[in-house]
Amino acid sequence: MHEMSYAEAILENLINLAERNNAREIKKAHLVIGELLLINPEQLEFCFRAISRETIAENCTLEIEFVKPEIRCVKCGKEFEAPAGVCECGGFVSVNGGKEMILKSVIMEVD
């Protein structure tokens, strides 16, 4: 389960950001996650809940937006849904993106 590593990175960055902005509470975090990272959102949520207990991110909602990689044949340009390796035309199918995890924006309460 690699979700725990990601949950830790999310929490650490949220707390840093909150401290820099003198926030009291973190309400919502918007995340952009590449589909190829194979993150299970329920597990990510579960891990995040467990480690954020008794922090200012305790009640923070994770809003997850998944983004697709661009998978296409380098020869004929045909698009694919999943990494397919080789296209029927014989061209290699290249994969771009789909591996990002960006903390896009954060909503927090400040005094």
């Binding site: 896009k104 309460e109 400040v110």
Partner: protein
């Protein structure tokens, strides 16, 4: 009290990338070739490392062995009188650049650093350790659909080892299909059919290592 929204735009994977780059720099500076060996539990990673250490006597080798909690693999490898370090990840199913960063200094005098990742075909995929080569080892006993089920790890490998091929007929696994799936996902990878118990393919692996280490075959 009032609410504010902040445009964070923070890349959460950048910390691992930064540490991996740091590891890579250290390895380069000390002329160390690092190989990250991934594969499921029971695929044969530890035996591969034990045999490699024996076959390359004369080359200075270090081994980092990742494990969730136990030290069994470490003890097996350390018995071969090689510089070895166990890494317990605790709850995690993969090594990351940070875990390697803590140990790497101890290996500054080796030529080859073998890193046995935690037995798992999913979690290690996205954690660059700073290695030079990524190796994925699967065995035919995992089923001949194991490659197509885990495209990412095979897509990003430099070497794909299909182990225990001598058992293929007994477990009704189609090795040709496994090789075809691997080649389809990753036409650039070197694919080695292996059976460590029957000495199949091991020479090809040693030849690969000697090639990347730039040493001749007679030093053993």
């Amino acid at each position: 009290m009032h609410k504010i929204e902040i445009d964070a735009e923070i890349d959460l994977l950048s910390e691992n990338r930064r540490l991996a780059a740091e590891n890579r720099k250290f390895l380069r500076e000390h002329g160390i070739v690092a190989v990250n060996i991934m594969g499921a539990i029971g695929s044969g990673k530890t035996l591969l490392i034990e045999k490699t250490v024996e076959a390359l006597k004369g080359i200075r080798i270090g081994v980092i062995l990742g494990d969730v909690i136990c030290r069994a693999d470490y003890e097996r490898v350390a018995a071969h009188e090689v510089k070895a370090e166990p890494v317990n990840t605790g709850k995690e199913c993969h090594l990351d650049a940070h875990l390697i960063n803590h140990r790497i200094q101890k290996f500054e005098d080796v030529d080859l650093l073998l890193i046995e990742n935690v037995g798992n075909l999913i979690c290690p995929v996205d954690f660059d350790l700073g290695e030079d080569f990524r190796v994925v080892m699967v065995s035919v006993t995992e089923g001949d659909d194991v490659v197509e089920k885990h495209p990412e790890i095979f897509r990003l490998a430099d070497v794909i080892i299909i182990n225990k091929v001598a058992l293929a007929e007994f477990v009704e696994a189609d090795v040709d299909k496994m090789e075809r799936d691997a080649k389809n996902l990753n036409p650039e990878a070197r694919i080695i059919r292996m059976d460590l118990k029957k000495d199949i393919g091991f020479d090809e692996w040693i030849e690969f290592l000697r090639g990347v280490l730039n040493v001749s075959g007679n030093s053993s």
